[in-house]
């Protein structure tokens, strides 16, 4: 077997500093989309967010515009300011709702 060439490596000190700082920076393990919120009732048909691909029952399955149980990611704080004609409040909501007849 050929001897594998020695790879350079970063020093333990440099690694510890970077990893320690990174750990502190990521301390609040902001899971999904921390600057976004799920907004119900604002997605146009077929445009609801999901990534399961074809042959699944998920992606782009909203059958009508502004479906009350279909959600979309929007920038945080903007959901309840987005117009939704089917919503009882007239605006997007942070939870699924029963559509009013329009």
């Amino acid at each position: 077997m050929n001897k594998t060439p020695t790879l350079t490596t970063l020093s333990a000190t440099a690694l510890a500093l970077a990893l320690g700082t990174a750990l502190a920076l990521s301390a609040a393990p902001a899971s999904a989309a921390d600057d976004k919120e799920k907004c119900y009732g604002v997605a146009l048909k077929g445009k609801n967010d999901c990534a399961a691909g074809p042959g699944t029952t998920c992606a782009g399955t909203a059958k009508a515009d502004h479906q009350g149980n279909a959600w979309k990611y929007v920038p945080k704080g903007s959901c309840e300011k987005t117009a939704s004609p089917t919503s009882p409040t007239g605006l997007g909501q942070l939870a699924a709702f029963k559509e009013k007849k329009s």
Partner: protein
């Protein structure tokens, strides 16, 4: 050719004659019935591609996309029964598809979308617990020799184009008119919980992740990434990888494979 092969080939070739020996249950013309079936096959494949590549479709419009997808589907029908995985060769096809030359970033946007579907169906893995990182830091002498394991859903795409910004602008995040397509971006695609996330990796992040995946040690991977990109920032890259929970293990090689 066997009857079945003739039948399958005729399904994808609109100029092929209707296979011999077909009969319709209600006595109608088999040629017409076969044409309906042939149409359904190709339309279902085009629909499948449209579901996997929605932004690619938005970039060129439905008519162009469906025509292009039809050429691809006839040339490269699915080899697997899993429709969700169909289209892995589509980005490379787009790259060679002359009419799409005017949209040079189209193939990379398609690659990004394929990575999203792959990430969605990848296995689960728990992110690296903070106390395991603290333990590693407490024994920092060993840090350079540690192996980093990544989440199975993780995918990285280095592009000469602004793939992340282009994709995001089509999700209503950011203004498409202000995206400069020619700015290179590296996309990190990973599933966080149940949702697939797409974020831009800082410079050198692609080399760092690729080195982790190759099984290089932490120290080697960091050094390699630093030599790959002048403005490599290890802290920024690690912070992003930790934030999205894509690092799942950190231990000595001997402990990884006993």
């Amino acid at each position: 050719m066997s009857d079945q092969r003739i039948f399958a080939a005729a399904l994808l070739d609109p100029d092929a004659p209707c296979p011999a020996g077909l009969t319709a249950w209600n006595g109608s013309d088999p040629i017409q019935r076969f044409a309906v079936y042939r149409n359904n096959v190709i339309v279902s494949l085009i629909n499948a591609l449209a579901e996997t590549f929605p932004v690619t479709q938005e970039l060129v419009g439905e008519e162009f996309f469906r025509a292009m997808a039809g050429v691809f589907a006839r040339a490269a029908p699915p080899k697997s029964a899993l429709l969700a995985e169909y289209g892995q060769g589509f980005p490379a096809f787009i790259e060679r598809f002359k009419p799409a030359r005017g949209v040079p970033y189209l193939a990379d946007v398609a690659r990004l979308e394929m990575l999203r579907v792959r990430a969605f169906h990848a296995a689960d893995a728990d992110p690296l617990p903070p106390d395991q990182i603290s333990q590693a830091l407490a024994d920092s002498e060993r840090l350079p020799a540690l192996r980093v394991t990544c989440h199975p859903s993780l995918g990285v795409l280095s592009s000469r184009y602004a793939v992340v910004s282009l994709w995001a602008a089509h999700q209503g995040l950011g203004d498409l008119a202000r995206v400069e397509p020619g700015v290179p971006e590296t996309a990190l695609v990973a599933r966080v919980g149940l949702e697939v996330q797409v974020v831009a990796l800082p410079p050198g992040g692609d080399a760092l992740v690729a080195s982790f995946l190759r099984g290089l040690t932490f120290g080697e991977a960091a050094a390699l990434a630093a030599s790959a990109a002048a403005e490599f920032d290890l802290t920024a890259n690690l912070a992003l990888l930790l934030r999205y929970g894509v690092l799942t293990d950190l231990r000595l090689p001997a402990e990884v494979s006993p």
